[in-house]
């Protein structure tokens, strides 16, 4: 049995106001099931990051229907969006770690947003998560003292520590070399499989397409192809 975690129907999105108003997403229809790893790809400006931010609740959807984890995000209030964000992990192109916090404290921030977890428990979970991304010996390092790949792994730990149902990643390998990029993606893949979460990943990076269960190709705000033939198109 497969659950649909993300269901998008007839989604349009516009930027700007009045005469400058410009449509960036056209009639997007997409269903994503629990546990799937989806890679979204396409040229720059094709609207894939916009779609990702809509799914992630970073922007409010304007028209159509956007069902994420059983909640309609189209027309949701700012407060509802903020709450919805707590249910998914977001991984950015840059690691965006807080420079004044150690790796452990950074990961802990991913838990603190959820109420009612005791301090000791948060510390234990964060330490375990850092162990899982292979940074057990870097727990008390500040981001400045970590390499690019290590930082991105801390960011992954931060996104996954609260065991979100959905992980959204925007070009997580763009700032990394081939090997650390590969490591990071495989790490995401393994952890996601363990926790049974869904990954929606935006990338230009052809080297990592093989981890996807499904590939979505976008161009000029249209969802061009979905599934196997998308792979052919990219290649």
């Amino acid at each position: 049995m497969t659950d649909t975690v993300i269901s998008i129907q007839n989604l349009d999105h516009y930027f700007g106001q009045g005469k400058l108003r410009k449509q960036v997403l056209f009639d997007i229809n997409l269903e994503i099931n629990a546990g799937e790893i989806i890679i979204m790809t396409g040229p720059s400006g094709s609207g894939k990051t916009t779609l990702l931010t809509l799914v992630g609740g970073l922007r409010s959807a304007q028209s159509g229907s956007l069902y994420v984890l059983g909640q309609e995000l189209c027309g949701a209030t700012a407060r509802q969006l903020t709450k919805a964000r707590r249910h998914h992990g977001y991984i950015f192109q840059a690691h965006n770690l807080h420079g004044s916090l150690t790796a452990l404290q950074n990961v802990k921030m991913g838990l603190e947003v959820h109420r009612g977890i005791p301090t000791q428990e948060m510390k234990r979970l964060a330490t375990e998560m850092l162990g899982a991304v292979g940074l057990a010996d870097r727990v008390n390092y500040y981001p400045d003292d970590l390499s690019g790949g290590q930082k991105q792994r801390v960011a992954i730990a931060r996104a996954l520590v609260s065991q979100p149902k959905i992980v959204l990643a925007d070009e997580p390998t763009a700032a990394l070399d081939k090997k650390s990029g590969r490591d990071v993606v495989e790490l995401m893949q393994n952890l996601a499989k363990e926790q049974g979460c869904t990954i929606l990943l935006v990338t230009h990076d052809n080297r990592i397409l093989d981890i996807a269960d499904r590939i979505i190709y976008m161009e000029d705000g249209h969802l061009i192809s979905d599934g196997v033939d998308a792979t052919a198109k990219v290649e």
Binding site: R85, F92, A94, L101, Q105, G110, R115, I117, D170
Partner: protein, 391 residues
């Protein structure tokens, strides 16, 4: 509420971590706040000292209730009222004694330079000494001698040699209203706005200096109450018993009466309040600079936190946390430095500048308010930490 405290306790102290991670910036911020605090402390200190210096004599009176003429304006313009009022006052239950005191400004010749200057002369019955100044009370026999006065060694002007001579036991004479006066001894109170110095003598000597003053017209009535009576209540009874030609004040009110005169009739209050305000503004600007730089530097992180589901409220909390930490930490050096400066001022000017708990609390509260205002301005920038636009 308990839930809130629980949440608070498990919260990462982000504001503190951010501040302490940037040691240099923290140091600059703290010295800025300390500077603003020092400014405020000095202005408030000077202000209080100036008021206090005008009421030193008042506060050294051994009295519970003071009677003055309704015409009285300040210590050198006391006008007079009838001594009979003092005898009447003795009728009121709770009144232990009611003693007259005479005060007037006189021009005397500086015994050292022979230049004329205005001093305040006070005369009282040496058998009922009204001052709590030990030096005066030890020399009551001296002022019983005709035309002999005690002189204020902290008077404003060139008196060093004369004081040295008196200290050496030599006789120093000078002139008041063509009478030759002997300066028989010294005490220490200090100059005020009203008079450059003070002379203390017996009531008999006072009346000799002012032949047109009569013993029956007194400048001040000093009333002591019997133990067990509340001076405020006795003063109330006196007010209703005595006529409208005297004003009844408790000792405290008498001090305030003088202070109030100088508050209204000089620009002291305005000048120093303005000084405090400027210190406050300097603080607001410095703290705002520090906080807004900090917010700008962490814009990406804040946007990330928003993307993770933290509310704007949480980030506001971080900025205000920083503001309060800065206020409290900056206040510590800001209160210590004035201790030294007050000491310096006391030595240099003889102004009674002391640190008081009340003033420290006032400045601490002002510092917190100052930092909160800066924090409130700095948080406006948080609005632009929008994760959707940043990534």
């Amino acid at each position: 509420m308990i839930g809130f405290i629980k949440e608070f306790r498990r919260r990462t102290p982000l504001g503190w971590l951010q501040l302490s991670h940037e040691k240099g910036r923290l140091l600059v911020a703290l010295s800025g706040i300390a500077f603003a605090d020092v400014l405020m402390f000095m202005q408030l200190g000077f202000q209080t000292a100036l008021y206090d210096s005008n009421t030193r004599l008042h506060r050294n009176l051994r009295t519970d209730i003071v009677l003055i003429s309704p015409q009285a304006r300040n210590l050198i313009n006391m006008s007079t009222f009838s001594r009979r009022r003092l005898y009447q006052a003795a009728d009121i239950p709770g009144v232990k004694s009611a003693e007259p005191m005479y005060a007037n400004v006189v021009t005397w010749k500086n015994p050292q330079t022979r230049l004329e200057t205005a001093v305040l002369v006070m005369g009282f019955n040496p058998d009922q000494p009204p001052f709590t100044l030990p030096e005066v009370n030890q020399q009551l026999d001296v002022i019983k001698l005709p035309d002999t006065v005690l002189f204020d060694r902290a008077a404003r002007g060139d008196y060093q040699q004369a004081i040295a001579q008196i200290d050496a036991g030599k006789t120093v004479t000078t002139e008041i209203e063509r009478r030759t006066i002997t300066v028989g001894g010294l005490f220490k109170v200090g100059a005020s706005f009203a008079a450059d110095g003070n002379l203390i003598t017996s009531d008999d000597n006072f009346l000799r200096l002012f032949p047109r003053r009569q013993a029956s017209s007194v400048s001040l009535g000093l009333i002591t109450t019997q133990p067990g009576y509340d001076p405020k209540q006795v003063a109330q009874s006196l007010k209703s018993y005595l006529g409208n030609d005297v004003k009844v004040l408790t000792h405290e009110e008498f001090v305030l009466f003088e202070e109030n005169y100088w508050r209204v009739n000089t620009a002291i209050g305005f000048i120093f309040t303005l000084g405090v305000g400027m210190g406050f503004m300097v603080g607001v600007i410095i703290v705002y600079q520090v906080l807004s730089t900090d917010v700008n530097a962490h814009m990406k992180e804040y946007a990330t936190f928003k993307a993770m589901g933290y509310r704007n409220f949480y980030l506001l909390g971080v900025v205000f946390e920083e503001a309060i930490i800065l206020a409290v930490l900056g206040f510590i050096p800001g209160a210590l430095v004035p201790l030294g400066l007050y000491h310096l001022t006391r030595n240099a000017t003889n102004l009674p500048v002391y640190m008081t708990v009340a003033r420290a609390v006032t400045v601490l509260i002002m510092t917190v308010i100052m930092c909160m205002i800066s924090g409130a301005i700095a948080t406006r920038k948080l609005q632009s930490a929008d994760p959707a636009d940043m990534f």
